[in-house]
Symmetry: C2
């Protein structure tokens, strides 16, 4: 598909942020060209402060002169604005509700566990507790994948959709935790469908090259 002419699209962020990657995946899926403006968290730009005065956080999508904040809001905005590209949200209201439910779950529970591992879990007991939470969350997401994908390759069916983007963006940091914990979180035995999906989504053209490798993420810590 030819890329849309969208030189008026800017994305403020940095590569190590899964939420920025999420916006990137959505733009890539829709073949929207955009200018990536790298933000320094220690020295936030005037453009960022003006565009997201409430949270002062990336990602910010600026379309024309209009800023959109919060990664899942951005993904929905992209889906609704470039509606001629492949659909990101499912079509039926019920499937959309299921996708929105799990996207919120991912950011609350799964990303919560990633943050806990990286910042709080220092002793063996708290590490074990976080790993237990990962196991619970990924088990539930395995079930959600099986139900949503209808035997096809992605949560969205034959093509990546909302949940592929919502979960896929966390795979880089999940690998960092796996390396650090020396355990396999996405496990061929316990979460076989998700383990296979994770290879599939990472080699998809909308994700490949955009999702940072663990080395790059570690250097951002």
């Amino acid at each position: 598909m030819a890329a849309s002419i969208s030189s008026d699209v800017k994305l403020l962020g940095f590569r190590a942020s899964p939420f920025v990657n999420r916006a990137q995946f959505a733009l890539n899926l829709k073949s929207v060209n955009y200018e990536f403006i790298v933000e320094d968290t220690d020295n936030k730009s005037e453009l960022l402060l003006k565009s997201n005065p409430v949270h002062k956080k990336v990602p910010v999508l600026i379309h024309g002169d209009k800023p959109v904040n919060e990664s899942l809001v951005i993904v929905q905005y992209i889906d609704e604005t470039w509606s001629d590209g492949p659909s990101i949200l499912p079509e039926s209201p019920y499937d959309r509700a299921i996708a929105r439910f799990w996207a919120a779950y991912i950011d609350d529970k799964l990303f919560g566990s990633i943050m806990k591992w990286l910042t709080d879990a220092k002793d063996e007991e708290s590490k074990a507790a976080v790993l237990e939470k990962f196991s619970e969350s990924l088990g539930l997401l395995e079930e959600a994948f099986v139900k949503s994908s209808h035997g096809k390759g992605f949560f969205g069916g034959e093509n990546p959709g909302y949940l592929d983007i919502a979960l896929g963006c966390h795979l880089g940091w999940l690998k960092v935790v796996e390396m650090d914990a020396k355990v396999k979180l996405l496990d061929e035995t316990k979460t076989p469908a998700l383990a296979e999906w994770s290879h599939r989504i990472q080699s998809h053209e909308a994700v490949k090259g955009t999702l940072p490798e663990p080395d790059e993420l570690l250097s951002a810590l």
Copy 2:
């Protein structure tokens, strides 16, 4: 407008939950008849546990045999399913993004402050800190109202929409805090537009009689 025939719609919840009220407002706005099934938080029903096995929380909307969880997901589901009724989300993708952004803000910051007041803020210093947060949040929401309402009566313009529902459901507990703190949070001087809006939304037919009064809420504590 005649009520839709929707005897297959059930809402699991209890009146003191603002998130349950939110789903009720949306159903009322769309004139959808529903069965309200009262849940006891100390003794959750099998239907609730089966319908929301992940969070085990109300509200749950059951449409036919399909459960939908999480209040903002439910409101969007209602908007998309009964699409012949008045629109809840705005029409343009940008206005929808703005509405989704502020709805998330309301549940994070404003409801966060309500919870802090009710559970954590015991000494004068922490009470003052929470009141300061209320002032900040309501100031931002006043600005958002002025921008979104375009001089009309509601966030949604002439009729209540997504943010009217999202914020309106918290007005009962906000009154409880006002009574307890002996301060006016929605203040005619500091937040004149929101103060006026709060009277308008509470007397709207979709909200009136559904939003509990402070006495009823206090007895639920």
